[in-house]
Every structure is written in structure tokens, then in C-alpha cells.
């Protein structure tokens, strides 16, 4: 469904992606694992069209999207959750949910969102940023479901969350998958990654260095943790 072919990216003179190639199939949950500074966020921004200084190709559904502006990528089914969650302070919780247009036939209704995430219903009139960190993360993912996006691109949704909330995010990602939405997830927590995802790409210094399945991640958890410097 998503094919990334030899993508490079620069910040000024500094090249931070050195030709990344990877693929995600329909219905899969795939994670990108890698140290801080490996280039994961930059890659996701390239996928959304937010990072202009890039080369290489990005195909979604067999069609090249590398030259489309961000809003058009959203409209063909890419649902983005940035690393800071991207919740608007000047919009209420409900407005945060309804800001993006509906982009696919599988879009959730507001009722459906509120049924699945009752805390969002309770706080629908409050400013988006009045929610706790975990609730904001929930809101950001719920927003993607409300659009009816076909792939969820989430940048470290568990970062900085307490273990209980991390589990909750895990539940949400399984729900997302159960609804047929493909997921590409950035994740530092390899144990968590192996519980929610089907496959993993290990990214280092702007390159995909390994492709791993769950069994391999479990086997090599210690080595990977050391490698990630956690």
C-alpha cells in the first residue's frame, strides 16, 4: 500500500536520510524503531509532504505522491499524528476532531468516536490542550479515524506516557487495525512495538539497517535495547 523508495532528506547541508526504502502492506501494523536522531520523524514528515528538501519516491496505492502538497496527501488517505500530537489549543476537543475533512468511506462518525473514547465525549467542549497527554494522544488518533484515513502515520504516540497509558494506546492501535486501517508507527519501546505490530524496521543514521519480525525482536530484545541506548 505504501512504498518508500530511496528517500533522502536534508536540513541545509546536513543529509539526515541516506536513501530509505521500505514498504507497508494493506492491513499491516509496521513500526520504525531507532535511536533519537536516526531520522524517523523526518521520514514521516517526508511522507506527509511537510519536509520539502527530499529526493526519492513515495508511492501510495500504486500512485506516486512525492510531489503532492500535504493537504492532498491527507485527502487521499494519509492520517498523520505528529510527535507533539498536533492538538490545537484554540479549538475545542470536538473541533479538533471535525477540523479535517472526511477522506474515506470508512470514516467514523462522531458518535462512534465518543462511544469508543468516552473521555473525549465528556470533554468535547473543552480546549483541546486541556486534556492530559494520554487523552491528547487518544484525540489525535481518534481524529485520524474520524477522517476515514486508510493509513495511520503516528510519531511516537507512547512517548512520555505512564505504563498504563502506553497499554491503552496499544489497545487503541489494535482497534485501529481491527477496523482495517494500516499503521506505520514510530516507536522506541521495542517490547511495546512487538506487542502491537506485525513487523519492524530498524533505522540508524538515516538508513534502514534491518527488517525484523516479532520473534526476532523478542529474541534480541536486550541487544536492541542496548543498541537504542535505553
Amino acid at each position: 500500500m505504501l512504498n518508500v523508495d530511496n528517500v533522502t532528506a536534508r536540513y541545509g547541508e546536513a543529509q539526515v536520510l541516506q536513501g530509505v526504502s521500505l514498504g507497508v502492506d494493506t492491513g499491516e501494523v509496521v513500526t520504525l524503531v531507532g535511536r533519537n536522531g536516526a531520522g524517523k520523524t523526518t521520514l514521516l514528515r517526508c511522507l506527509m509532504g511537510l519536509h520539502r528538501a527530499m529526493t526519492g519516491d513515495i508511492e501510495f496505492d500504486g500512485r506516486s505522491v512525492a510531489t503532492l502538497p500535504p493537504h492532498k496527501r491527507c485527502r487521499i488517505g494519509l492520517g498523520y499524528v505528529p510527535d507533539d500530537r498536533g492538538i490545537f489549543a484554540s479549538l475545542s476537543v470536538e473541533e479538533n476532531l471535525t477540523l479535517p475533512p472526511v477522506t474515506g468511506p470508512e470514516a467514523w462518525s462522531l458518535e462512534q468516536v465518543y462511544e469508543t473514547f468516552p473521555v473525549l465525549a465528556e470533554r468535547r467542549r473543552q480546549a483541546g490542550t486541556h486534556l492530559s497527554g494520554g487523552e491528547q494522544q487518544m484525540l489525535a488518533i481518534a481524529r485520524v479515524l474520524r477522517m476515514g484515513a486508510r493509513i495511520l502515520l503516528a510519531d511516537e504516540p507512547t512517548e512520555g506516557l505512564a505504563p498504563l497509558l502506553v497499554q491503552q494506546i496499544g489497545e487503541i492501535i489494535r482497534t485501529v487495525k481491527a477496523h482495517g486501517v494500516t499503521v506505520l508507527l514510530i516507536e522506541q519501546n521495542v517490547h511495546f512495538a512487538s506487542t502491537v505490530a506485525d513487523r519492524h524496521y530498524l533505522i540508524a543514521q538515516g538508513r534502514v539497517v534491518e527488517s525484523l519480525d516479532n520473534a526476532e525482536v523478542e529474541q534480541r530484545e536486550h541487544e536492541l535495547l542496548e543498541y537504542l541506548g535505553i
Binding site: 506527509m48 509532504g49 511537510l50 502538497p69 500535504p70 493537504h71 496527501r73 491527507c74 485527502r75 498523520y80 505528529p82 507533539d84 498536533g86 492538538i87 490545537f88 489549543a89 484554540s90 479549538l91 473541533e95 471535525t98 477540523l99 479535517p100 475533512p101 477522506t103 490542550t129 481524529r143 477522517m147
Partner: protein, 291 residues
């Protein structure tokens, strides 16, 4: 007592102009990140527009109130498309210089034709005369200006807080790139918002024509105070600009009355105080708050 109330009313009427101008400046800054130095010039053009329409075509003030803002709004949109837009990805100073240049050109064009003397503009007949407000009588026209500016401010606020367009403007103002990645073509909204801000400035100018001196300098005199108003209210905050507009209006009127020698600087003293105590302005969101 009635003297004090009268001062208060004078302040609110002055504040009406500040509020309308600051409101437009504020939405433009919010959406485009551009400090529009030409805002005062468009206010001046609004007043001259009314004057020219009456003088050469016999169009009355009520028609001018409708036609002039629309015309200036369209001119604003053209300017945005042709110039402002092209500089937006550059350092903000470029657009500052551009709009400053536009202001000087507009002002000098008017000066070329009309000099610096003020042009007469009659009050619309229905609004001529005084209205009895109980404790004192007050010019009908001024009351109309005050009511209209409050109604317009409330309308803009309603559009911003209650409609989908308003939601998009708020989102783009807060985080343009994020809004873009959520499927909204922010660029499409930038031009109409600029035009709208300019139209508000033009409308303020038409309102000013019958009660202020209509001359080529009228906008330049005002723009510095308007900048102070926007800073006091909080950059990009619509409610803040309007509230600060009325506050500054009252401050200058009371200042004029009680300490005329200081009236010119009171606004800037207030601005300095606000910046010291609340750097983001009275209604601005503090930097670094979780976004």
C-alpha cells in the same frame, strides 16, 4: 458626573475605530504572519473613497459604506496575490518593507492629488443632530459609529468561534503547517482573510469621513497607535484587539481631558506595562504553553 460619562462615550467612539482597525490587523497577522504596515493607508483610502464617490458620482454615505469596503477588499486580495504572497516564505521583514512601501505610495498618490488639506464630508442627514441619552445628549452619528463597531466586532467573533470558516482560520493561525497536513488548503484562505482585514480598515475609513479630518495623513497618524493596541491585546488575538481598542480609546480621551500634555504617550506607557506584566498581551496565549 455627566461630564465623566461623556468622556467615557468619547473614548468608546475613538475606541470603535481602534477596534475595527486592530481587528483586521490582528486576523491578517494571525493568518499570514504579516504585520501590515499599509493598514492605516487603507483606512485613509476608505475615507477618501467615500469622499470621491460623493464628490464625483454623488453616491451617498450609505452606499459608500457598502461599496468602498468591498472595493478595497478586492484591491487587498489582488495585492496579496501579486506581492505579499510571494514574500511570505522569506524573512518577515520583507513583507514589512513591502507594506510600508505600499503605505507610502498610497499616501503620496493621495497627497499628489489633494495635498495635505482636509476634505469636507457631510454627515448623513438621518444621523445628523443629537440624541438624548438621559444624563446627556450626544451626537447621533457618534452613537451609530459605536453601535456599528460593536455589532461588527461581535459578528466577526461569532464567525470565528461558531463557523467552520472560523475554525479553519483559528487552526491556521495557531499552526498553519499542521492544519495543512490535516487536509486543509491553508493557502486558499490566506487571500480572502487579507482582503477581509483590508475591507474592515476601509470601512473604518468610511465611518471616519463625516467626523474626522479627511486628509492624506490620517492613516499614518493612526497606524502607530493601532500597533500598540494590537500588542496590548495580544498579537493575533481577536478578542484582545477589540478589547484593547476600546481600552486605548478611553485612555486617550481621558488623557486628553485630564493630562493633555501626556495624552500622546499614555498608550505607549500602557503598552510597556502590559509587556512587562503579560508579555503575550492581555488576551494573548503565553509562548511555550503546550500546543
Amino acid at each position: 458626573m455627566s461630564g465623566l460619562l461623556q468622556q467615557l462615550f468619547n473614548g468608546l467612539v475613538s475606541g470603535s475605530f481602534y477596534a475595527l482597525l486592530a481587528l483586521g490587523l490582528s486576523v491578517i497577522f494571525g493568518m499570514l504572519g504579516v504585520v501590515n504596515f499599509a493598514h492605516g493607508a487603507f483606512y485613509m483610502l476608505g475615507a477618501f473613497g467615500a469622499f470621491v464617490l460623493l464628490d464625483s458620482a454623488g453616491l451617498n454615505w450609505w452606499l459608500a459604506l457598502l461599496v468602498v469596503p468591498i472595493l478595497l477588499g478586492v484591491i487587498g486580495m489582488v495585492l496579496e496575490r501579486a506581492f505579499v504572497h510571494r514574500l511570505m516564505h522569506l524573512f518577515p521583514l520583507y513583507n514589512f518593507l513591502l507594506t510600508f512601501g505600499i503605505a507610502l505610495i498610497l499616501q503620496d498618490l493621495i497627497r499628489l492629488k489633494y495635498g495635505v488639506t482636509s476634505q469636507p464630508y457631510p454627515r448623513p442627514t438621518i444621523l445628523d443632530g443629537m440624541v438624548d441619552l438621559g444624563v446627556f445628549t450626544y451626537p447621533k452619528y457618534q452613537v451609530f459609529v459605536l453601535v456599528l463597531s460593536i455589532v461588527l466586532s461581535v459578528l466577526v467573533w461569532l464567525v470565528l468561534t461558531r463557523t467552520r470558516v472560523g475554525m479553519i482560520v483559528r487552526a491556521s493561525t495557531e499552526r498553519a503547517e499542521l492544519t495543512q497536513s490535516l487536509g486543509i488548503d491553508v493557502r486558499r484562505w490566506v487571500t480572502p482573510v487579507f482582503g477581509f482585514g483590508i475591507a474592515l480598515a476601509g470601512l473604518a475609513g468610511v465611518l471616519a469621513a463625516p467626523m474626522r479630518a479627511v486628509n492624506s495623513e490620517m492613516g499614518a497618524d493612526l497606524i502607530i497607535v493601532i500597533f500598540a493596541v494590537v500588542v496590548i491585546g495580544g498579537l493575533g488575538s481577536v478578542v484582545g484587539s477589540v478589547a484593547a481598542g476600546y481600552i486605548v480609546g478611553m485612555l486617550t480621551e481621558f488623557g486628553n481631558f485630564y493630562i493633555p500634555a501626556l495624552s500622546q504617550i499614555l498608550v505607549f506607557v500602557l503598552m510597556a506595562l502590559v509587556l512587562l506584566l503579560r508579555p503575550a498581551g492581555l488576551f494573548g496565549r503565553e509562548e511555550g504553553s503546550p500546543a
